[in-house]
């Protein structure tokens, strides 16, 4: 029982860390507290679902497709919505715009789901994916646990290598530190912003593909995860990528285990969001530097 719980927490942590890293990336670069971030996961879900029905194959095979469509979506969103507002809109205005974006995306997915249901004659709400089991050193492991852990690790390592070992990555960090100075040094800030949006949305879409293996999903699922994502990023200190990864695992463990023990005490598991909310409030009010405050000198 406790083993299942731990596995579940790790899977959820993998998901959440992919989402949280993306959210804090766009928060760092373009300063958007993005309320549409959960919906990107929903986009990933429906891309993988549609393709897996058309080609009649396991949704895992469409992780790359999901990644690419997420990157394209990120590019379009940055170019159309946030680029015109660059250096013009206040932080709150950007947040309101991201709420509008959430509306547009969420209900577009609803429309796609309706159309999907009619044209392909399949269910498009309350979906769940069939998992495969992986044989690992003679042990039969849940495919989701294995694949999501591997994929998340690869993505996070690649992101680290990108940010610290490549020229564009160094430029990205420079833009985060000081956009005006970087622009003066010949870095195209807009291109970096566009890149960070592409990465952010693509990561979220990949995370989305894992979701339906764990819970039944519908177009609103992404939005309902938003509170946990924000809690993870806040716990991580709001301005740190590593912090938000650690924050994501902490939130995932405390939600999974917390809900289990709450149900043991006879309290409804529907109070689950309260854990995220309490974390968010406490960190913001008591120690807003979060986990990153442990090593960051600023």
């Amino acid at each position: 029982m406790i083993m299942d719980l731990l596995l579940d927490a790790i899977i959820y942590g993998n998901l959440l860390s992919l989402l949280a890293v993306g959210l804090s990336l766009t928060l760092l670069t373009t300063k958007v507290a993005n309320f549409a971030h959960g919906d990107f996961a929903a986009v990933g879900i429906y891309v993988a679902y549609t393709l897996s029905i058309i080609f009649n194959a396991s949704p895992y095979l469409f992780l790359p497709a999901s990644f690419v469509s997420g990157a394209l979506l990120g590019l379009v969103i940055y170019r159309v919505v946030f680029d015109p507002l660059r250096e013009r809109a206040s932080l709150v205005t950007l947040m309101v715009v991201s709420m509008a974006l959430d509306f547009i995306l969420r209900y577009s997915i609803h429309i796609c789901a309706d159309v999907l249901q009619r044209s392909l004659r399949v269910f498009s709400r309350g979906i769940i994916f069939n998992d495969v089991s992986v044989n690992l050193l003679g042990l039969s492991v849940l495919g989701l646990f294995f694949i999501s852990t591997v994929v998340t690790t690869i993505f996070l390592v690649l992101l680290y290598l990108f940010l610290f070992k490549t020229k564009v990555g160094v430029a990205t960090r420079a833009v985060i530190e000081n956009p005006a100075l970087s622009e003066a040094l010949g870095i195209s800030v807009r291109r970096i912003y566009a890149l960070s949006w592409m990465l952010s949305v693509a990561f979220a879409c990949v995370a989305g593909v894992f979701l339906p293996f764990r819970i039944t999903v519908n177009p609103d699922t992404g939005f309902s995860m938003l509170l946990s994502i924000f809690a993870a990023v806040t716990l991580g200190g709001l301005e740190s990528l590593l912090g938000s990864v650690i924050g994501a695992y902490i939130i995932a463990f405390s939600e999974t285990l917390g809900v289990y023990y709450l149900s043991q005490l006879g309290i409804s598991t529907a109070y689950r969001p309260a854990i995220s909310f309490a974390t968010l409030t406490l960190v913001l009010l008591v120690y807003p530097r979060g986990i990153a405050g442990l090593w960051s000198k600023r």
Binding site: A100, I111, L285, P288
Partner: protein, 345 residues
């Protein structure tokens, strides 16, 4: 008869949205506080009615509520409505008591919410308030003794003593009076030194503080006032619908109100009149068109997408909204006239 109901529907919804817009305009437009927990303060008003109208009615009639509140509320509503139909005073007592409770509960919540408002960067504040609003809804949804959980709870008809057309006219009148009252309060505040101090805080907090304004106290006052206004809207809404359901108060409501404020124009009292009118006109138009066209999906989704796109367009093309904020000029009349003449030249 049909026209009365149509008018009642439009007016009550407009009043509710206008009060909400006024309260958000005061906090966000004038003081620069993004109170994205608007749906929660709106809900507090409605929950006060939902939780109290039946219990209060039963208490005043000297009947104890037996059994499950969730399952029996509608039965008690019917019994209390019958008593109210003979005794108008009972209905008015219930109405005023719930209104007072709603205002005081949400004022206290406003004081609580103003505590983080003093120390956080504005976008983090907005984030925290949205999370707060969702948490309130989740608690109300699962804690059944409050407003019956997902099942919802019935609300007493405090005008049950009036006959059919008069009852609707009376309700219409009450909602118009409350909405105008709220708007006049806002207008008076906005054009007074208080409003100017708020806008000064929004534009430059440090400078305002250095000129001797107590930023902490002013922000707290605004939050309390805005929250109290939102709860009045909640009370009207609950009595109008005759039912309180926690799922009515999602963050989408907050978004809609923000949309109205931005369409209307932040920081201008006229904006709070224009915004809700534009939204309601759009909403009715969609309802009208919906019945006449056939789409392979739910047209409501399309209307939400259009609303989102409208907001992005307005922020880009006309950030001031329909009625942009005007710079405040507080000079003696003669100099003002001189300035105006200067402008014409």
């Amino acid at each position: 008869m049909d026209a009365t109901f149509f008018l009642l529907d439009i007016t009550v919804l407009y009043s509710v949205y206008m009060i909400l817009s006024v309260s958000l305009d005061l906090e966000y437009g004038e003081a620069g506080l993004p109170n994205f927990a608007k749906a929660a303060f709106f809900a507090l008003g409605a929950f006060s009615v939902g939780a109290l109208s039946v219990r209060l009615g039963a208490f005043l009639l000297g009947v104890g509520i037996e059994g499950d509140f969730k399952l029996n509320s509608l039965r008690y509503v019917m019994a209390i409505n019958q008593s109210i139909s003979k005794d108008p005073l009972l209905g008015l007592t219930i109405f005023s008591m719930t209104l007072i409770t709603a205002i005081s509960v949400s004022s206290i919540a406003g004081v609580l919410a103003s505590y983080p408002a003093l120390r956080l960067r504005e976008d983090y504040l907005g984030m925290l308030l949205i999370a707060f609003s969702e948490t309130i809804r989740v608690i109300a949804r699962n804690y059944e003794p409050l407003v019956g959980g997902t099942f919802g709870v019935g609300v007493v008809d405090f005008l049950a003593w009036a006959r059919a057309p008069q009852r609707e006219q009376l309700f219409l009148l009450i909602s118009i009076i409350l909405a105008s009252l709220v708007w006049i309060v806002y207008y008076r505040l906005s054009t007074s030194p208080f409003g100017r101090a708020l806008r000064a805080i929004r534009d430059n907090e440090l400078a305002t503080e250095s000129l001797g304004r107590d930023v902490v106290k002013l922000r707290m006052k605004v939050m309390v006032l805005g929250s109290a206004m939102a709860s009045v809207a909640g009370v009207i809404y609950a009595y109008y619908v005759g039912m309180v359901n926690p799922d009515d108060f999602t963050t989408s409501k907050t978004f809609l109100v923000t949309l109205m404020v931005i369409i209307g124009g932040r920081g201008n009292p006229l904006g709070a009149i224009a915004g809700p009118a534009v939204y309601l006109a759009f909403d009715r138009f969609i309802q009208f068109v919906k019945q006449r066209i056939i789409l392979p999906f739910d047209p409501n989704y399309l209307s939400y997408i259009i609303l989102g796109a409208i907001l992005i367009l307005i922020v880009n093309k006309r950030p001031g909204g329909l009625v942009p904020e005007k710079p405040t000029i507080t000079l003696p009349g003669e100099i003002k006239r001189l300035l105006r003449r200067e402008n014409y030249r």
